[in-house]
Symmetry: C2
Subunit: 291 residues, 2 copies
């Protein structure tokens, strides 16, 4: 069971996120948490805080986006609560089921484990940048812009990955990249009592992101959040097999690093990875979705 | 599984509710929902929206109040989420367990069933009134005021009632009185396809509430919310036995009405019960906790 809050002005704004996308992303964030625990979704609850000025259409669109994301994964809305509030918010609780020996944790990685990440990174950050500053990116192709905006608005949880993982590995640690790859590496390595090295020249970055980000591509791939990809740590002996089953299933898999006996997470040059810059109570990731 | 949202300015305010009481009441509201479904709590998740100005002490007190209410019922905090928000809010999800044949619903009442309510009614409303307008109630005894304020700040979920109920009845419908007795009667009767009559001269009203409310006692008992008592509908043949086991267990039980073959809920004079006046999106119950 997992719960996640989204607040207008913090996690979404009228400027970059339509109601249907707020709903979709709220569903995706929670389904991604289930995927990171190895669980199959069984249902959700939605707690909705609404201002009196909120148009009914906004609420309908929110639910439409939510169900578009959640329904194909067999996660019906089971209930919830709706209240008046001073700003809009959505609190989602998702319930999932997983066999006890198939629970994925952040704590079960070991030194020499290989770090594999699904999909590509930085796409959601790129989409947000384009939405926030369209003038700056007007030279980009419409197709590139559309690709990253779609990635930002309609991220997909990697619910298919745990089954693929267990086909080839008997041990794994996992976390999603909702707060960025660097954060996931820091969490998994730290909570497993290991260090980590990330080969930043091997990060999976799509061509549209490379073209839009330019010199910032690596930064967005490491620190951009909300791609909802999965970071997996598996024994080195099965890493090759994992990449094969992921790629065969149409989930791009990339070995981006390795766990070490030390402490701390570094890139291949020995520079430490930064913890996430998103600080809930002192400021915001720059640029902010609400700015 | 049940979820419930509380927003500052809507459900609580600095003026009437200390942080520890916000936490206690958030726990009680959710535990009460579990009790109304016949479930035993197994854990909770807390989603906390906090403004940057919120003192750390406020958060610590909130958790203290929450655990003071939930811990004795075996409902540990299992997880949650904490976010920056434009106003404070708390979204609680509670998980419970109940055997399939012991699930309490609102839909299973039948005509001639007797309506039994636990405890006394109007206490929380009386406490709120005293907190909002202390000058008006300065003639009341300090003991009366303390009693109703405590009832408002520290309501108790009736988790012990389902077991007592199933000792004497093989069929029951139930709902809690979080939005008032009248609402519970309207919901249970309406969702069971029945009508109902409530004998307003038999409502269980404590002496402190009678003294503080004066002529409004009956109104507060019918329409005041957040007492978190349970309304039970049971076959008339077991109503006497139910009152006996409730009273023997120290849970006051009172037969306050009966279900009818008709539609609509009325008092003994044939006057219809009003639906709750608390309208989330058009206004607030009068007087409001936030006014």
């Amino acid at each position: 069971v997992t719960t996640d809050l989204l607040f207008e002005g913090v996690h979404f704004s009228e400027r970059t996120t339509r109601a249907a996308d707020v709903g979709w992303r709220a569903a995706a964030a929670n389904l991604s948490d289930l995927a990171a625990m190895g669980a199959r979704p069984i249902g959700t609850l939605i707690g909705l805080g609404l201002t009196p000025e909120t148009p009914v259409n906004w609420v309908e669109e929110l639910y439409r986006g939510f169900t578009e994301c959640a329904d194909p994964h067999g996660a019906p809305i089971l209930g919830g609560d709706t209240c008046r509030a001073q700003s809009r918010s959505i609190a989602v609780t998702a319930l999932g089921i997983v066999a006890p020996d198939r629970v994925l944790k952040r704590t079960s990685a070991q030194p020499t484990d290989v770090l594999v990440v699904t999909g590509t990174l930085g796409d959601s950050q790129a989409g947000l940048e384009v939405l926030l500053d369209p003038v700056r990116y007007r030279e980009s192709t419409e197709s590139d812009r559309a690709r990253v905006i779609e990635a930002h608005r309609r991220p997909r949880a990697r619910l298919e990955v745990p089954d693929l993982l267990w086909q080839v590995s008997s041990r794994a640690a996992a976390m999603d990249t909702s707060d960025g790859l660097a954060d996931a590496v820091l969490q998994v390595s730290g909570q497993s009592g290991c260090g980590a090295v990330v080969y930043t020249d091997r990060l999976p970055i799509s061509l549209p992101v490379r073209r839009i980000a330019g010199a910032r591509a690596e930064d967005w791939a490491l620190y951009g959040g909300e791609d909802f990809e999965l970071l997996l740590a598996v024994p080195a002996s099965v890493a090759g097999a994992l990449l094969e089953v992921l790629n065969a299933a149409g989930v791009k898999g990339t070995a981006v690093g390795q766990l070490t006996p030390g402490a701390g997470a570094f890139d291949q040059h020995g520079l430490p990875l930064r913890p996430p810059t998103f600080e809930h109570f002192t400021g915001q990731k720059n640029p902010s979705p609400a700015s």
